[in-house]
């Protein structure tokens, strides 16, 4: 029997297949189903900086903006005596998930700027989260902000969170940094426990009927796999932080490739949204079969075996191969 165990964020996981942040995990019964289907861990859906900031602010605004304006109506709504704003409900979900499952529960915080919201990580820890995944997600539109500044802000956020929690912290990044390896090292120095590569970048659409710019989520395709594969392969052995792959994992082959490149865990969302939570069982069975066929003893044995440092042709990860790849492409027309 192949040993599927892996380590990630201070825990030993029974499987490297991790359910990544998605709306599926807003429901407790889904989390339980993921565990039953073999997930090594679950990363809860993302709690956004804006939710922490804005939701309460909006409520506060609507309760106060028209208050004390008219003699007959000094307020227009009863003041709620208890608030289970999305953040509170999130904490409740962590608590319940911990009560009902055995697998690690990783809380996910999504933000872009330094602020009071980062203190919420502490509440997540208190609620029982085994680790925190920080999804640092900046869409810089201000041309005066340099790349260096953006990197600095990200490191500051990581440091702010690390300073208040004792549980491990992973950082989920976008691929759009000038030098991912350099930046990964910076995060390493900030003692981040894992890098999650990469988040799906928000790219809005235009509605031709209304001419509105509309948010539009497109599920990942297997092609998206290449980007994390590249960087995990390059970073493996070069950073102390553990590596988690996300984006584009749809089959057991995809997962295996990422593990071979050096990922500690492989996170899945689109595949589960498309095929259902129980698809985890299929993936695990297929992965086990491949490992058995190839006579691997364990996942840890094969992990990183085809990373840049271990690959038979390390240059395959570099620019030289780019030219070769282009040259090898034979158009059909």
């Amino acid at each position: 029997m192949v040993d599927l165990r892996t380590t990630y964020l201070g825990k030993t996981l029974k499987s490297p297949l991790v359910a990544s942040a998605s709306p599926l995990w807003e429901r407790l019964d889904n989390i339980k189903r993921a565990e039953d289907a073999g997930a090594g861990a679950v990363v809860l859906f993302s709690l956004f900086e804006e939710q922490i900031r804005r939701e309460r602010e909006l409520l506060h605004y609507f309760l106060t903006h028209s208050a004390d304006s008219h003699p007959e109506a000094t307020t227009y709504a009863p003041e709620p005596t208890q608030y289970h704003a999305a953040p509170d409900q999130y904490l409740e979900l962590i608590r319940k998930a911990k009560e009902t499952t055995e697998i690690p529960i990783i809380a996910s915080l999504n933000g872009a700027t330094l602020g009071g919201w980062t203190t919420f990580a502490y509440k997540m820890q208190q609620a029982g989260a085994d680790a925190i995944e920080l999804n640092i997600y900046s869409i810089p539109t201000d041309p005066t902000v340099s790349g260096e500044e953006i990197e600095r802000q990200t490191v500051d956020i990581v440091r702010a969170v690390k300073s208040i929690v004792t549980i491990p912290v992973a950082v989920k990044l976008s691929p759009y940094y000038s030098n991912m390896a350099h930046f990964a090292q910076k995060l390493d120095r900030a003692e981040v426990n894992a890098l999650v590569l990469f988040n799906r970048f928000y790219q809005p659409d235009i509605d031709l009927e209304t001419l509105d710019v509309t948010p539009n989520v497109i599920l990942s395709t297997p092609q998206a796999l290449r980007l994390p594969l590249t960087w995990i392969g390059i970073l493996y052995g070069r950073v102390r932080a553990e590596l988690a792959a996300t984006s584009g994992v749809h089959t057991h082959e995809d997962a295996l490739k990422l593990l071979l490149a050096g990922a500690n865990v492989v996170q899945l969302t689109s595949a589960l949204l498309k095929n259902g939570i129980d698809y985890l069982k299929t993936l695990e069975a297929d992965m086990t079969r491949w490992l058995e066929e190839k006579e691997y003893d364990s996942v840890s044995q094969m992990r990183g075996s085809v990373s840049q440092v271990n690959a038979s042709d390390p240059s395959a990860f570099e620019r030289a191969q780019y030219m070769r790849a282009l040259n090898s492409y034979q158009p059909n027309i």
Binding site: E57, H65, P71, E72, Y76, P80, T81, P87, L211
Partner: protein
């Protein structure tokens, strides 16, 4: 006994705290100014807060105060301890039950925030007209004068009623005691327990109706015994004074606060004594102290127990030295021998005086509708008593140049002591000034040994309202329960006020003036009007400025400048050492906002830290240098009455208007809001004619009718201002004509809903539309000139307008303009539409509520006239009777029209063909109406030349020969709840009345209490835990009559359907009911994009659109047209757009999930039912007896 705890609370809360603890069944209904007591009770019950006996009271909202009284009566008969809270008309509605409850000797207390009764006009403010109207019901009446007394007397009343078996009214002055925040010592449960005798509760339960020991009450009695039975209660009434005094004494033994039924304060050898009750006693009390210290032999007798009136105890309480007495009543009883307290005092003296010479007694009225009652007025009353022939039946506090009843008052007289700090703050409703001051006064009261008092005044408009906060604090208890008129600190939180108001009138020498302005500090002095500069120099004032908006924005608090201004006040006033004050504010912010999250707290804390660096002391120059003068309150073209009377009210000089200036029957001119230029908007819409598709939607949705459209001949453009915009009219009906959309820049409230609805986007930059918001100040002058030019253009010919399409219909002149409604109001566009379509021949009966306030609150009002002088005639009767009131109007109009036709028929031989033409005219469209008006004008000319009784009778009625429209309008509180019985009857009558229900799904005007229109899962006051039952289907109920035209509309979802419904309803010769979705500030939504909420309500199936037209049934068609498509938006998505639903998710997520699912089920079922009804085969009744026609 545990340690005494102090609290800074208002009279409503002080009362409700005790009433809640001592009750098991609490029936509530909102009415200003008592609503807050019910709201507290509902909130505590929703939190499962137990009463004194550890059980949570049942709090039940009723459909009216009459209903509340009935429920209380029932609860009492079934043995529960019960209470209710009310005021004004609400108390009047309880009277029938009050007789019963008293007749059955039932212990209960009604707590009343005493308020004026609607007479020549409605007033929400305080006086004793309501309680005095119940003095004959057999209830004991206990009057408290202050917040502390309201708290204490609530307990004394609950205790005494159990002992006496006589029901009690406990009353205090509305909009003084009810809303004054003062430092009081709280009673604890041990106090309550000590005063409430459990054995008496058991006796009360023992008397209850129970099948286990059955009795009957409510028998019908005959001449043989009724009289005697009525007299059986006398011993119980005789015992009341002693019982109440006994309770007061027991209370004093526990708390140290001693009260007497008739409490004398003053010189033991006083010769002049004032007798009064209510909050005015405190002003009199401090005046007595002041004048006594100066050797005056005067005194004050406070009446606590007004019913039963204990004549001997009253007389005994007077000093024997008294020579003259002034009895002050806070009510007016026209035609009486004197007001009630006066009459009782005279009777008591006649019956019980046994001293030497009987004192002379005079009566006077004061303080009606919260009119100020000050020490200067008290002194005037004592001065009157000192006169050789004191004026009797006088008034004090007004100038009565008609009946010459008023006393002269020397307003320079003041008794305020130097050790009391007195501050006035002028703010806007939306800037948080009042909230901040409530907070400040709590900090001072809670964190310092000072006594403190806060009182807050709001103007009657619902948008851009000015608020005035009056704060006092000092080392001694504060009795000065009148507005601060000697201020040593004045703050202006909005510099726009400086355009119109002199805010320094009340400043004392050496006072501080703090101004929030974006002007740089070196320009701030010259930003002040000349008169204010002069005052500052003359009174040697200090001047501080701050750009609070800048600080608030930098701290991320938007327009809420409250915290910033609060810090300035503490820093300047020195009530606490600076750091201590700042720590206290920070602490209070953490306490108040902590549960709302660290971000909100953090922003406030940042604002605090930034404030002091931004506050600047401006040294006072030696001379006046400003060129600014106050703007006149109304425009120069205003008629004399508007200028002199309404203008004075606008300029905050209404108190100085003499009696003769005012109409004696409550009749006021319409169309006066046009003269008040409020300049509220920072930004106003600007039309881009190149982009515009001339759809008319911007004008249609404008809640304040500031967007107008005209099509006119090109030559009219001669002399147009340079910036006046005009393009070719697009519609073929107006081919060759010019078209303009014009904005009234000074009347706009800046809500932006017009921009949101505009469907035309700029092809090169889609963020730009055909109408865009731009800063008002640089546009004000040019657009004012454009507006003036536009209004002088002839109105678009009504007979050419195709009224069935919004784009043309919106060219009709609105005869409802510039109301005092909220920015973005969802009701007013419907009223405006009525005024455009039918306004020149409409009478409106308006239920009390938001629409009667923004529609009829002085000084200026929005219902307007056209150039011919025609327009809606408007009246508000009551809240509960509006349908009946409107029906009365309809019947009267019909009768007079019938009689006019009879007379015309009789005179037809003399009038000739014209008579026939008039009698046979259809008047079904504008052209025919126009012709009929011309015929009637011709008829009147002929009649004037005739010399007969019939002719002259017909002349006085001839206008009724032009078809009139009667619209009965109001909100859901009226139509679904308090007025439903009447509404139902009016619908059943078959009469030709048109009813518009502006359904905001809550009692909007009183602050968002649930009605039967409130949907499932919505959080509202009185439904703090989310409404657990669905919305009443008023439309379906009306449809069941078969003969009622019913439509459900939502302007923001399908405007053409709305227009069609209004046209069909008016054309239908019978009762018509339109239920109109009206978004509201109480929904917790962005009012600038509220039409999206309307659309979502319809798209989700929450709000169905339909029209049920009995005329179609007559023609054999299915009368029901379902105008909504099958729900396509998950209901949750709509619910989550509105805070009223979201709040439930936040406070009770599990309940929300369940109720949201139920609501989704309801949507499906409701649509299926309506779809079935609209699609079923329909045959006219009688055509086919086997058919399933319903008509």
């Amino acid at each position: 006994m545990s340690e005494r705890v102090n609290a800074m609370i208002d009279g409503n809360e002080a009362t409700a705290r005790v009433a809640y603890q001592l009750s098991e069944v609490i029936a509530i209904y909102p009415i200003t100014p008592s609503s807050a007591m019910g709201e507290w009770a509902d909130e505590w019950a929703s939190l499962n807060q137990p009463n004194l006996w550890g059980t949570v009271p049942q709090v039940i909202e009723m459909q009216s105060e009459g209903g509340a009284a009935g429920a209380v009566h029932g609860a009492l008969q079934a043995g529960a301890l019960s209470t209710t809270f009310t005021a004004s008309q609400g108390l009047l509605l309880m009277i029938p039950n009050m007789y019963k409850i008293a007749g059955e000797l039932t212990p209960v207390v009604i707590h009343v925030a005493a308020r004026a009764i609607a007479a020549q006009g409605l007033s929400i403010y305080g006086d004793h007209a309501d309680v005095m109207a119940t003095r004959q019901t057999g209830w004991a009446m206990l009057s408290s004068t202050s917040v502390q007394e309201a708290h204490d007397f609530a307990l004394i009343a609950h205790s005494a009623t159990l002992r006496a078996r006589i029901p009690f009214i406990h009353f205090f002055d509305g909009f003084r005691t009810s809303h004054e925040v003062n430092k009081i010592e709280l009673l604890d449960n041990d106090d309550l327990r000590a005063l409430i005798d459990e054995a008496l509760i058991r006796e009360h339960r023992q008397r209850a109706l129970s099948p286990d020991h059955p009795v009957m009450r409510g028998t019908a009695q005959n001449p043989d015994v009724y009289f005697q039975a009525r007299e059986t209660v006398n011993p119980l009434y005789d015992a009341v004074p002693e019982i109440v005094q006994g309770v007061m004494d027991a209370f004093a033994a526990r708390t140290g606060r001693a009260y007497k039924l008739y409490e004398y304060h003053g010189a033991p050898d006083a010769e002049r004594v004032i007798v009064m009750m209510g909050s005015g006693c405190d002003a009199a009390h401090e005046t007595v102290d002041y004048l006594m210290a100066r050797g005056e032999k005067i005194g004050l007798l406070k009446v606590r127990l007004f019913r039963p009136f204990a004549a001997q105890l009253f007389v005994d309480a007077l000093p024997s030295s008294v020579k003259s007495i002034a009895v002050l009543d806070r009510t007016k009883e026209p035609g009486s021998a004197g007001e009630p307290l006066y009459q009782d005092v005279v009777t008591a003296l006649m019956e019980a005086w046994n001293g030497a010479a009987m004192p002379r007694v005079v009566g006077g009225r004061y303080g009606l509708s919260s009119k100020e009652f000050t020490p200067a007025m008290v002194k005037a009353v004592y001065d009157n008593l000192a006169a050789a022939k004191p004026k009797n039946h006088f008034t004090v506090g007004i100038i009565d140049d008609l009946g010459m009843t008023s006393l002269d008052v020397d307003n320079s007289f003041s008794v305020e002591s130097d050790d009391t700090v007195r501050a006035i703050f002028y703010g806007l409703g939306s800037d948080g000034t009042v909230s901040a001051n409530k907070n400040s006064i709590k900090i001072i009261g809670d964190d310092t040994p000072n006594f403190a008092q806060g009182y807050f005044f709001y103007d009657s408009k619902k948008s851009g309202t000015m608020t005035v906060s009056y704060l006092r604090f000092g080392p001694r208890p504060i009795r000065s329960n009148y507005a601060v008129n000697r201020a040593n600190f004045i703050a202006c939180h909005q510099d726009i006020f400086l355009e119109k108001y002199d805010l320094l009138n009340e400043a004392v020498d050496g006072a501080v003036f703090l101004l929030n302005t974006s002007q740089p500090a070196d320009a701030a002095w010259d930003f002040l009007p000349r008169a204010m500069q002069q005052t500052m120099i003359d009174r040697n004032m200090s001047f501080y400025v701050i750009d609070a908006d800048k600080v608030a924005k930098a701290a991320g608090m938007g327009g809420r400048i409250n915290t910033v201004m609060q810090v300035c006040f503490f820093a300047i006033s020195g009530v606490l050492p600076r750091q201590e004050a700042i720590d206290a504010i920070k602490h209070s912010i953490e306490k108040t906002f902590g549960k709302k999250g660290p971000e909100i707290v953090q922003k406030n804390l940042e604002a605090i830290d930034m404030t002091l660096d931004n506050m600047i002391h401006v040294p006072l120059p030696a001379a006046v240098s400003s060129v600014r003068e106050f703007a006149p309150p109304v425009t120069s073209n205003a008629p004399a009455f508007v200028k002199n009377v309404e203008g004075a009210m606008l300029a905050r000089r209404g108190d100085l208007l003499p009696v003769s200036a005012l109409p004696n029957d409550g009749t006021y001119p319409t169309g006066t809001s046009q003269y008040e230029k409020r300049n509220l908007a920072d930004q106003i819409p600007v039309w881009d004619p190149e982009i515009c598709i001339q759809c008319g939607k911007c004008a249609m949705v404008c809640p304040h009718a500031v967007i107008r459209i005209k099509a006119y001949d090109a030559e009219q453009l001669n002399g147009a201002p340079e910036t006046f915009k005009a393009v070719d009219a697009r519609d073929t009906e107006f081919a060759g004509m010019k078209y303009t959309i014009q904005v009234a820049p000074e009347d706009c409230t800046g809500c932006g809903i017009c921009v949101d609805v505009c469907p035309a986007k700029n092809k090169s930059a889609v963020a730009l539309k055909a109408i865009n918001m731009r800063p008002q100040p640089p546009l004000r002058d040019t657009e004012r000139a454009n507006w003036d030019f536009f209004t002088a253009l002839p109105e678009t010919d009504r007979t050419r307008i195709k009224v069935s399409s919004i784009r043309q219909q919106q060219m009709q002149q609105p005869l409802f303009e510039f109301p005092g409604a909220c920015a973005g109001c969802g009701e007013t566009p419907y009223l405006k539409m009525i005024s455009q379509l039918f306004g020149d021949r409409t009478i409106i009966a308006n239920a009390t509520g938001c629409s009667s306030i923004y529609g009829g609150n002085l000084p200026t009002t929005p219902w307007a006239k056209n150039k011919e002088g025609r327009g809606p005639a408007w009246a508000n009767s009551l809240f509960e009777d509006n349908a009946e009131f409107g029906l009365g109007i309809r019947v009267a109009v019909d009768k007079q029209a019938d009689y006019a036709r009879e007379l015309l028929a009789n005179l037809s031989s003399q009038i000739g063909e014209l008579a026939t033409a008039i009698l046979e005219a259809k008047q079904s469209d504008e052209a025919e109406l126009h012709e009929q008006r011309e015929r009637v004008a011709q008829l009147k000319t002929i009649l004037e030349g005739m010399d007969s009784d019939e002719a002259s009778r017909l002349l006085s009625l001839a206008d009724y020969l032009v078809r009139k429209s009667v619209w009965i309008v109001g909100g859901d509180g009226w139509a679904y709840d308090i007025g439903y019985g009447g509404l139902d009857h009016v619908l059943a009558s078959g009469r030709n009345v048109k009813i518009l229900v502006m359904d905001t799904e809550v009692y909007s005007n009183t602050g968002g209490q649930a009605s039967k229109a409130t949907p499932l899962a919505a959080v509202a006051k009185f439904a703090a835990g989310g409404k657990r039952t669905g919305k009443k289907d008023l439309g379906m109920m009306a449809m069941l009559y078969g003969h009622v035209y019913v439509a459900r509309v939502a302007l923001g979802a399908k405007d053409e359907q709305t227009l069609r419904a209004f046209l069909e309803a008016e054309a239908y010769d019978g009762p018509a009911l339109i239920i109109a979705y009206s978004h509201c500030i109480a929904h917790g939504i962005n009012m600038g994009t509220a039409l999206k909420n309307q659309k979502a309500a319809v798209d989700s199936g929450q709000w169905l659109l339909y029209r049920y037209n009995p005329t179609r049934a007559e023609e054999g068609e299915n009368p029901l047209s379902l105008d909504s498509k099958a729900p396509k938006l998950p209901l949750k998505e709509y619910l989550r757009m509105e805070n009223r639903f979201k709040m439930l998710e936040l406070s009770q997520p599990d309940t929300a999930r369940r109720l949201f699912e139920l609501a989704q089920d309801d949507v499906g079922e409701r649509y299926a039912m309506y779809e079935y009804l609209a699609n079923r085969a329909f045959r006219k009744a009688g055509d086919d007896k086997s058919g399933n026609g319903s008509h």
